[in-house]
Amino acid sequence: MELLYFAWVRESIGLDGERIDPPADVRTVADLIAWLARRGGGYAEAFADPARIRAAVDQAFVQGDAAIAGAKEIALFPPVTGG
């Protein structure tokens, strides 16, 4: 699946996005965030506090308990601040 990062999540990780293939036990968005955090470095920094992360699966906003099976595009980002 394709991951996308925005705002300070993107800056901490140093990537706009990347293709990933998480293990089978990574079932939800919350699992995915925890799995990415374990990579350390910029990932650990970006995902140090999962409560500060929002997500969209296939361009729809979701909660942390949303399943990721079959998703093509998952975006991880801070709470929005536009307007």
Partner: protein, 146 residues
């Protein structure tokens, strides 16, 4: 008539207002948000999620259309690096009723602040940069419409 745009180009508030006035609704309300140049701010960077942005703006507009008797909605949101004084966002509504136009305009900007995938970063004269944090009062402002 729903008119939605997101992108780096500046927009012409004057022309947007005149276009809304021409829809024959009797009541036109608008809001423009601009970059303030306080505290040594030299620029405001607007990130967004291009594939989602206009879709979300369309959902927000459709939601306003369901709640109020509107003849038109315009939402324009800029992205990229903006200078102090630059326009960031424009929201305009048209209705036969002034309260509908005014409330829908207020609703749209409150929802944009908390539901549309934009992120703001401040750039300062001393080289400092700072991502703006989401504010609880913005969530509260949105929640009053639920």
């Amino acid at each position: 008539m729903i008119r939605i745009a997101a992108g780096p180009e500046d927009f012409d508030s004057a022309a947007l207002v005149v276009a809304l006035e021409a829809l024959g609704g009797g009541a036109v309300a608008t809001f423009t948000g601009l970059v303030r140049g306080e505290g040594g701010l030299t620029g405001l960077q607007l990130d967004h999620y291009p594939a989602m942005t206009e879709k979300v703006l369309g959902v927000i507009a459709a939601s306003a259309m369901e709640r109020w008797p509107l003849k038109g909605i315009t939402i324009v949101h800029r992205t990229g690096l903006l200078a102090p004084g630059a326009r960031i966002v424009f929201v305009g509504t048209v209705s036969a009723h002034r309260a509908a136009a005014l409330e829908a305009c207020h609703f749209l900007i409150d929802w944009l602040k908390t539901e549309a995938p934009f992120w703001k970063k401040e750039h300062f004269a001393d080289g400092g940069q700072c991502w703006i944090e989401a504010r609880a009062e913005d969530d509260a402002a949105k929640d009053k419409w639920v």
